[in-house]
């Protein structure tokens, strides 16, 4: 038991789970009923779950999907893509553009999603080419799309903030009749399962880590590093398309300036809180998804504490700093040293005892 605990404390998931636990405990102390789950009837007459848990899971969907893609990019290319918000805005604009020009039916929604996927993959591949072929740092390479992306999204829809209305769209954005769980949560679960199965049953996960840890030795071992990096950026493009489509489906309109604003920063944070090294190498998708939930739980907690939405960032920053400081290796080392110093005597006494027994 103690051994299992020690193993867990060393694992990558310790920090995000610890942070999540801290938030849960804090909320339970503050308000016992915070995590109560109730069944209510929504406007369409469906019985659905509601409560803070659902709103945390639901609200974090886009972030969780982007965090999955960002983890892969971080692991393979040792950097972060800061253009995901802009890519998602472009993908959402394409989604809306296709929907507006057709009668909205399920195949058309699928086609719109595919179109947005294609566009997002093209932009992902653009970033990927700059990073993999031209050897530009990811953050710099994506700075181009970061500064131009939202303008391209604006241009796609001719400069308006168009709306699309259809009950079919609300199936994606909120609930499918008969299923009490919001659809975005289901999409996250499906997508997460798909990606992790893909990584588990192919060599892609291993190759991604290998490229991130040491690109040169990966190449010498016959791994096509350029292809792996490019692939991770295309996956991130797909992630951006999915989250952009979800965000559009939720509210039925697209505002290129505000859709998924600052989500790139949150996605990188989710990756970091998930215990992944931001300079590449080993990664854990589970950690990043939990990191996304931590961020959303924090936001919901702060809202519940009646903190105005504009100043929420300041408190968020304090919590983030606290988490990364606790998680930093140097602080951990110091804490261990302190523990050894404080509880040295009993441990030493025991040791001599054991030695004595051994001598006998």
């Amino acid at each position: 038991m103690a051994n299992a605990f020690k193993k867990f404390a060393k694992s990558q998931l310790a920090i995000p789970l610890f942070a999540l636990l801290l938030l849960i405990v804090f909320n339970l102390i503050r308000d016992v009923g915070f995590f109560s789950l109730t069944i209510t009837t929504n406007n369409n007459g469906n019985a659905v779950f509601s409560g803070n848990i659902i709103s945390i899971l639901n609200g974090a969907s886009e972030l969780a999907i982007l965090a999955i893609g960002m983890t892969l990019v971080t692991a393979s290319s040792k950097g972060q893509d800061i253009s995901v918000g802009a890519s998602a805005a472009i993908a959402g604009s394409v989604f809306v553009r296709v929907l507006r020009e057709n009668q909205i039916t399920m195949p058309i929604i699928l086609a719109a999603f595919l179109a947005s996927c294609v566009v997002a993959i093209i932009f992902g591949a653009f970033n990927g080419t700059l990073v993999a072929v031209f050897k530009i740092q990811p953050m710099i390479a994506s700075l181009i799309l970061f500064s131009a992306g939202r303008s391209i999204a604006y241009w796609i829809n001719g400069g308006a903030t168009p709306t699309v209305e259809s009950p079919l769209l609300s199936y994606i954005g909120s609930f499918i009749p008969g299923i009490p769980i919001p659809t975005p949560i289901i999409i996250v679960i499906l997508f997460g399962a798909l990606v992790s199965l893909l990584l588990r049953f192919t060599n892609l996960g291993l190759y991604t880590q290998a490229v991130g840890i040491n690109e040169k030795s990966a190449r010498l071992n016959g791994i096509n590093a350029v292809f792996i990096k490019l692939l991770s950026f295309t996956v991130l493009g797909v992630c951006a398309a999915i989250s952009g489509s979800i965000a559009v489906s939720r509210i039925g309109l697209i505002n290129h300036e505000t859709i998924l604003l600052d989500i790139e920063m949150d996605a990188i944070l989710a990756v970091a809180i998930g215990g992944n090294a931001l300079n590449g190498g080993k990664f854990s998708l589970t950690g990043s998804v939990i990191g996304a939930f931590v961020i959303q739980a924090l936001t919901i907690t702060l809202y519940a504490m009646k903190i105005p939405s504009t100043s929420i960032k300041a408190y968020k920053a304090l919590v983030i700093i606290a988490i990364v400081v606790i998680g930093s290796p140097i602080v951990r080392k110091y804490a261990l040293w302190l523990r050894d110093k404080l509880f040295k005597k009993p441990a030493k006494a025991k040791q001599t005892d054991e030695n004595g027994e051994f001598a006998l």
Partner: protein, 372 residues
């Protein structure tokens, strides 16, 4: 041909010509492109570009960005990054306006206040990044969030300063004698610059001197170029990194005050995306995010190029705001590709090969000389 080679080889024995460094090469390219671009704009669009005031207005409107970009350049040379500069600028403007108006502060006091905020941010971020070895991106991102959040906590509504002495400072203009334009009535209008521009230029020169001629400046390049070998050379890597963030925080504080002296208003949306513009100008000016290469003069010209491009976009009739960000993106793309291409050629391309071949010939000649 052989004669010149012999001549060259002769001089090389005495004094070997050093190839131009990466820093200087990238700087030269940026300066040339800026001058070429501005000259082209003067020729094609004339009008506003011929008016010196428009040139000085680039400085007037972006003095704060120059100061911030200097800080960003320092951090980037040392191999880090600071996302919090825009947030600190916004916080400084708001805090100073509230201090001046609600607490009847003095101008000197508000300057001190601005510097204090900047130093406090730099201090905390520097300690966390260099001594606790946390990734700079995360810490400074949290710093940006904190600064932006604090700005709205200090005052949720935008404020405009009405403090008398400060308003006088804000409206203070320096007239440049002899340079100016003729108004519609044929009267001479001299060009004017704001006090913030003087501060910005002085800071650029000071940082240039620090980077070029002080031990700290050279340490920054060493740490950014290769932290491990800098450590082996006996450089205090952690302290150098710490000072780079401290300096960047201080410059952000100054930048915030310069911003305030330009607009006179505190607003949470002040200096939005300033950090990205600062990074972009540093990159265009030849600073590499990997560290070890860069120059503040380059950053200044990078910023000027960026702003000239948006002026050209406006002059050519594309007035919708989205064209500006698209051209900024395109220009960044161009510069980034150019840089990576040049550096790749220098690293393993024709230049190096040429040089080694040349040396081969020389060595052969030497052996011949020896044999005879």
């Amino acid at each position: 041909m052989s004669n010149t080679r012999g001549l060259f080889a002769g001089t090389q024995e005495k004094k070997r010509r050093e190839p131009i460094s990466n820093t200087n090469l990238l700087l030269t390219i940026t300066v040339c492109i800026f001058i070429g671009m501005y000259a082209l704009a003067m020729l094609i669009w004339g009008g506003g570009f011929l008016n010196p005031q428009q040139f000085f207005d680039i400085f007037n409107n972006n003095a704060f960005l120059i100061v911030i970009s200097c800080g960003m350049t320092i951090v980037m040379i040392a191999g880090g990054i600071d996302i919090s500069v825009g947030g600190i600028t916004a916080l400084v403007t708001m805090a100073c306006v509230v201090y001046l108006d609600d607490h009847s502060g003095s101008v000197i006091g508000s300057v001190g206040f601005a510097l204090g905020i900047g130093i406090a941010f730099g201090l905390i971020q520097g300690v966390l990044i260099s001594y606790l070895e946390i990734q700079p991106f995360i810490i400074t991102l949290a710093g940006m969030f904190f600064a932006k959040g604090m700005t709205t906590i200090v005052s949720a509504v935008p404020r405009t300063a009405i403090h008398e002495a400060f308003v006088a400072l804000k409206q203070f203009r320096i007239v440049i004698p002899g340079i100016g334009s003729y108004g519609k009535a044929g009267n001479f209008i001299p060009a004017r610059i704001e006090s913030g521009v003087i501060v910005a230029i002085m800071i650029v020169l000071a940082i240039f001197a620090i980077l070029k001629w002080t031990r700290f400046g050279r340490n920054l390049y060493a740490v950014g170029g290769n932290g491990q070998s800098a450590l082996l050379l006996g450089i205090n890597v952690k302290r150098t990194r710490f000072y780079s963030y401290l300096l960047c925080g201080l410059l952000s504080g100054i930048g915030g005050y310069v911003y305030l002296s330009h607009t006179g208003a505190g607003n949470a949306s002040n200096a939005t995306a300033a950090e990205m513009q600062a990074i972009a100008s540093a990159i265009i000016g030849g600073t590499l995010l990997t560290g070890g290469v860069g120059n503040v003069i380059g950053t200044l010209f990078g910023l000027l190029s960026l702003k000239t491009i948006s002026n050209i976009v406006i002059a050519s009739g594309l007035r919708e705001p989205y064209w500006q960000s698209i051209t900024t993106g395109l220009m960044l793309c161009l510069f980034i590709l150019l840089q990576s291409l040049i550096l790749a050629i220098r690293e393993k391309g024709s230049l190096q090969q040429l040089l080694s071949e040349w040396m081969k010939i020389k060595s052969k000649k030497n052996t011949e000389d020896l044999s005879t």
